[in-house]
Amino acid sequence: MATIELEHIRKEYGTDIAIEDLNLDIEDGEFITLVGPSGCGKSTTIETIAGLTKPTSGTVSIGERDVTKLPPKDRGIAMVFQNIALFPHKDVYDNISFGLQLRKFDEAEIDKRVEKAADTVQLNGMLDRMPSEMSGGQRQRVAIARAIVRQPDAFLMDEPLANLDAELRVHMRTQLQRIHDELDTTIVYVTHDQAQAMTMSDRIAVIDDGDLQQFAPPLECYNEPANLFVAGFIGSPAMNFIEGHLTAQGFESDAGYLDVEFDPSTVDAAVGQDVVLGARPEHVLPSDTATGDVTAQIDTYTDVTEPMGKEIFVYLVTDQGATVDMEDPGASGQLLMSVGPAADVGEDEPLSVVFDKSNLHLFDADSEVALAHGLSEPATVDGSEDTPASADD
């Protein structure tokens, strides 16, 4: 068990900058997830913590010990890899005990620990199998057993579930959480799958382009995204963005179809400044069923509907027959709405919708930093009622 601290980590590959200037403070026993799109530097970050990659500058500390110059074996960490990376020429027992044998533990102790680790991941009776004789899930469990058997200070997991099929992935996700509860060890987890990030972690570090965007608990990232990138990245389907500017009355969209009234003095921006309004699909409501503090009606037409079972995604356009720019659907007036399965919504019908004002987000268009979360009067920061599951009722 240990804290992990990254200070001013910078990593360059030739002229490419993989990590710009990363600072992370991970507390003892925390489950941290690094998320971001491919190539954002999250794998480089975890490799830097592991010692497989040397940072160009900056320091890495594990358990308040500067390990920047130490080789991986002396850092007190264990790692689970995306490609599982079991040694194919060794059986399960030898795979699990590899690290212990290298550290010259005595036979009885190795036996005891391997037994216990195999027990934790439910691999009893398979210790003499070869990795090639096992299924993907079993192999991944061997990899996890290999990591926990050494009782390391911290676990690093680089997309460990990415190569498993969907059903197994969900199963292993719960198992990993159980293992974390049991061992109470610091875990740094890398994934591009936000379902894993949301469900498992104590805190999420959202990384884009080698920069830390937000480092907060999952629901905080969801309800109070620090900037446009986090708002767009966390949450599926993604948030609607509407470009506009601040007026004395509130927000006015550039396309002209939307005004949101609020007191502009409550946000840290000048009247006339370009801003971006963000609304999650579940906070776009059909006006006839909407209650509470909502915006004025917007007349739209339904375009495409996607029934998902527990909800229906409805694509709305502000002008009937308008062509939607695939690259930037928000600019051409496309909105995505998520409604309950009982809603009676057809395609190509007029529909007036409203936004739930308490769950709107306002971002500075230039700096992309969040200006406000919730535009009710007075502007409050309230995230208690909008969990991702409770869409609209």
Binding site: A50, G51, L52, P71, P72, K73, I77, A78, M79, F81, Q82, N83, I84, A85, L86, F87, P88, H89, F98, G99, L102, R103, M130, S132, R146, R150
Partner: protein, 314 residues
Amino acid sequence: MSQSTQPETDSTDTDTGGLFTNWVDSAIANPKKVYRAMFATVAIFFLFTTLFPLYWLTMIAFSDGSRVSEGVGLLPTGFDPSSFIEIFQQVPFHLYMFNSLVFATLTTIFVLLIASLAGYAFGRLQFRGKRPMMLAVLVISFFPPAAFFIPLFQLFNQQISFLGITPPELYSTPGGVVIPLSAVFLPLAIFILTTFYGQIPDGLEDAARIEGTTRLGALFRVIVPLSAPGVATAGILTFIAVYNEFFFSFLMTGAAAQDWAPIVDGIISYRSQFQVRYDLMAAASIVAVLPVATLVVIAQEKIVSGLTSGALKE
């Protein structure tokens, strides 16, 4: 050599014209027959060219020594297996063999060790000047080894000094053979191992390093075992080449077994001023083949087991 198979097929052609026509007809209907026939022809040809010399050698070795010099045909002249004992009585042939085996073993160990390190660097690391360095290795391997001989001979005889240091006398020691031959056979081994080591997934090496090995530890505990077929190939090629090597091992050593003379010296010593004992030479050659043949059989099993255990499957 191929002539001896040719007349046979010819004779069947002409003698049984009807049969042949039938065969052609059925071959047109079933083209696989033609492939089988071609395979048989080629296989017989290769078997003949490789096995006939061995038969020839065995035949002479078992012939009556006194009658061999009269001339030999396809069948042995008399039967006299005593030459297999006589080869050890006339000269200490086992010592010559020992010398050659020492050269081959030491060179193989050196080559595999150094080529493993080089193969790791070339196959798994990214560094500036990698391509020029690999090219340099390739270019050096094109040099005729004979070009190195005179300077090395002078150096090993302490006639010249190198960087102001006179090396210990290496002439007539294993060093005088093993050092130049290691250099000569290194490039091939480096290329083989570079290819094999380069194919091992990075994740395995990372996993080994996280688990507690150094880079070198990961090389010898994970990468080398997983590249067993490649290591075996490089090792066998080197071993056989050195064991069979004539030029350096003959010239860098004396003529007597205690001067580290190789097998060739032993075989040559059956030629005295008055007679040439071809039967002893043949017997000695057969005995000399045995260690290599055994090694290949053992190593082949290793190669096959390495390939079939799915070692490289992720």
